[in-house]
Each structure stands twice: as C-alpha cells, then as structure tokens.
C-alpha cells in the first residue's frame, strides 16, 4: 500500500516516575509526539499493582523515523545502565501520513 509511510514504533514500559524524564529525552531528540497509557505489571523488580502512585507503570508509545530512533535508544540504554528499570520495544509499523487541511493555517 504505497500511501502508507514506513515508520518505527518505540514502546517503552517503565514506572510512572520516569514519564517526565523520558518524554524530555525524546523531545530533545526531536520527537514530535507521544502517547502514554497507564498500566500495571510485574517483573524482576516485583509487582507494580498500579494501586499506589509509587508503583504504577506506564506504556509510552512513540512513532518515529529510524534516524530519530537510534539516538533515542542510546539515551534509554544510558538510563538502563544507571539502573533505571525500563523496557524499550521496537517494532515496524506503517502509518497513514498526515495531510493537514488548508483551513488550519493559523
């Protein structure tokens, strides 16, 4: 389907406290947008019931181009190296390109 753009979807699973930090990092790498979903879960660091703020997880979805993905993954790797717990998942997606209508030229 020629009209679809090939992009990467980066899905980050982590604790809510890291939301701000990760989004700032992504912005610095020129990412235009993101989507966040509340989640709960469990892993090596125990249960994250989501009942208290202190153990709520989030899923951060970032649609981006491969060029932007690489440096962002470096940043995330750096955070993980410093002990932050996060999962960074990359998958291939195709997306409908945005064609803004004439009228919204504000």
């Amino acid at each position: 389907m020629r009209r679809l753009e090939q992009k990467k979807l980066l899905t980050i699973i982590t604790a809510r406290e890291l939301e701000k930090k990760i989004i700032e990092t992504a912005r610095r790498r020129g990412v235009g947008g993101y989507t966040v979903v509340q989640a709960s879960g469990a892993g090596a660091s125990g249960i994250q019931s989501g009942m208290l703020d202190i153990d709520s997880n989030i899923l951060i979805y970032i649609i981006l181009s491969e060029q932007r993905l690489i440096p962002l993954l470096d940043d995330l790797e750096g955070m993980m190296a410093r002990g932050h717990r996060l999962k960074a998942i990359v998958s291939d997606i195709s997306i409908l390109p945005r064609k803004p209508p004439a009228a919204t030229s504000v």
Partner: protein, 329 residues
C-alpha cells in the same frame, strides 16, 4: 488505653480487614484513583483543620517545631544508614535508599494516631502537624547525599551531566512533591481564609473525616498485605530493622517532643509517631529517580509491608505509653 482497645477503632479494624482480605486472596481491590482521592481528601482536611488552629497558635513554638522536625529528618536517616550497612544485608546504595524512608514520615500513621488519641480522649497540640509537613522532604536530601557518597566509595563513576542524584529536579521535586504542597497549601488556606468561609467547609473536612480515614486504611491494608508477600525478598534481618528502627526513633521523637518542645502526652505521642513512621509517598519516587540502582521492592516492602502495619497496630499504643512515661516522670 490498652493496645487491645486500640484495635477497636474502626480505622484500625478496617486496616485489618484490608490486610485479611488480601491474605485470603480475596478479589477485593481498590481502583487506583480511589486511593488517590482518599489521600487528597485526607491531606486537604487535616491541612485546613490544622492551619485553622495554627493560625491562632504561638508562632515561636511553631518555629521550634519546624527546627526540630528538620533535625529529626536529617539525623534519623544517618542512623538508619549505618545500622543497615552494619547489618551487611544490603549494599550501601540500597541502605541509603531505605534509610531515607525512615527519616521521612507517613501521614497515614499520623492520622491513625490522631484517631487513636481522640477515641482515647487525649488532648494533643497542633504543632506536630507542621512537623508532618516539614519532615516529608529533608530525609530525601540526606538520602541523596548518602547515595552519592556510597557511589564514590563504590567507585561508580557516572557521566556528570546525566547523574540523576545531583540533578536539581530531584531536589526540587522533593519540595514540590504533590502531597507536601497539598498539605502546606491547605494549612495556609485554613489559616488565612475568613473564619466564616472556613465554617462552610467544616462539614466536609470534619464530619466525614473518620469515615474517609477508614476507607484509606482499608486500602492501605490491602497494600501492606501485598507487600508482605515480598517478605522473602527482604529476609528476617532486614524485616527486624523495619520494627526496631521505628521503636528506636520513637524514643528520640518522644525526647524531642517532651523535653525540647515541652508538649503534653498527646503532642509527645505524635512527635514519637512522626519519628517512628516511614514514608511511602514522597520518598519512594525520589529514590526511584535518584538512586535507580536500589531495588524498589526492598524499601517499599519495609516501609509499607512491615513498618506501617507495625506502627498502626502495635506502635501507636506503645508510643503513647512511652510518651505517658516521659511526661509522667
């Protein structure tokens, strides 16, 4: 008032109910937002209440209370840190993260203590409330200092720019922490709002307060029991720290409350409770950001799974005894 009759306060009974429900693997679960709603309500109510009275209280004693609150917040984590390192059960970075929790406070424990004193008909000063607000944060700073000191000793070098623990944001967040702002803000509002208009919100902040506290403790019971399940992660030695540390701190708190601040039995009990309680609101997120190497399930299990239940069920009546003994003598 005996420890048993303490168990007959609805607040404590609901804590037990939540705890039991989880142990029996009941599917009773609180929606996350309800937990948030309850703590917002409790902080606002206690803030309005205390602020209203503090607006009419002695400013000098208030200053004293703030001073001693900071002293407690700065010293307790250091004591805890060396105890933990001595115990050899956790590395120094986990020790720093855990210790910070014990220098801070738990509003839930404080409120349960107030419910306890009220149903025991014991008068108490309103100053400990300022201490509650003040003590949330200083321990975090000590925690960060202990952590980066440990890192240096461990020879962990970090890319300066990215080192979170010196990241000013962590410190700022320690003071702009949501619950701290809510509590201090409500206290100021309670103090400066026109008495007439404060009257209009009294039914909200007073009448339904105890009922909301019951729901809150029901939820904390569920949470605490869930944490206990991680007990094995912690081990007996560490668990005993979760019981002995608060008892030790309560003595220090009682001494300050009675001798330094000259409070009566009620006020002294509350200062002892502040010293004994461990944070599960302001400190954990700060530690997760600034000491990522530390394992969250360790400090959360200790503060939520062991110290909080101990304080609510056994600690409070005990600290009340200690206070009575100090004030009596």
């Amino acid at each position: 008032m005996s420890g048993l009759s303490n168990l007959l306060i609805p607040a404590v009974l609901f804590f037990a109910l939540g705890f039991l429900a989880r142990i029996l693997r009941s599917d009773l679960r609180f929606p996350p937002d309800l937990a948030k709603l309850l703590s917002i309500y409790l902080l606002v109510s206690i803030g309005i209440h205390g602020g209203y009275e503090l607006g009419r209280a002695d400013i000098l004693t208030g200053m004293h209370a703030v001073f001693w609150a900071i002293v407690l917040g700065l010293t307790l984590p250091v004591i805890g840190y060396f105890l933990l390192v001595a115990s050899r059960k956790v590395d120094t970075l986990n020790a720093a993260a855990i210790a910070a929790h014990y220098g801070s406070v738990s509003a839930g424990t404080f409120l349960t203590a107030i419910a306890y004193l009220q149903s025991a008909g014991v008068q108490y000063e309103s100053y400990p409330l300022i201490m509650l607000a003040v003590m949330e944060s200083p321990a975090i700073i000590i925690g960060l200092l202990l952590a980066s000191w440990s890192r240096r000793r461990l020879g962990i070098v970090r890319e300066g720019t990215e080192d979170d623990s010196h990241h000013p944001s962590v410190l700022r967040e320690a003071f702009t922490n949501g619950s701290v702002m809510l509590l201090i803000g409500s206290m100021i509002i309670g103090a400066i709002a026109s008495p007439k208009s404060v009257e209009a919100i009294k039914p909200f902040v007073s009448d339904i307060f105890m009922g909301m506290l019951c729901l809150f403790l029901l939820e904390m019971g569920l949470e605490a029991a869930r944490r206990i399940e991680d007990f094995r992660r912690v081990g007996l030695a560490l668990a005993s720290f979760g019981v002995l540390m608060p008892v030790g701190s309560s003595f220090i708190g009682a001494v300050i409350g009675h001798y330094a601040l000259g409070f009566g039995v009620g006020g002294t009990t509350l200062v002892a409770v502040l010293a004994a309680s461990a944070s599960y609101i302001a400190v954990p997120p700060a530690m997760r950001l600034a000491v990522p190497e530390a394992n969250p399930s360790l400090y959360l299990t200790l503060s939520l799974g062991i110290t909080f239940p101990f304080n609510v069920v056994i600690g409070i009546p005990l600290y009340h005894r200690i206070a009575t003994w100090f004030v009596g003598s």
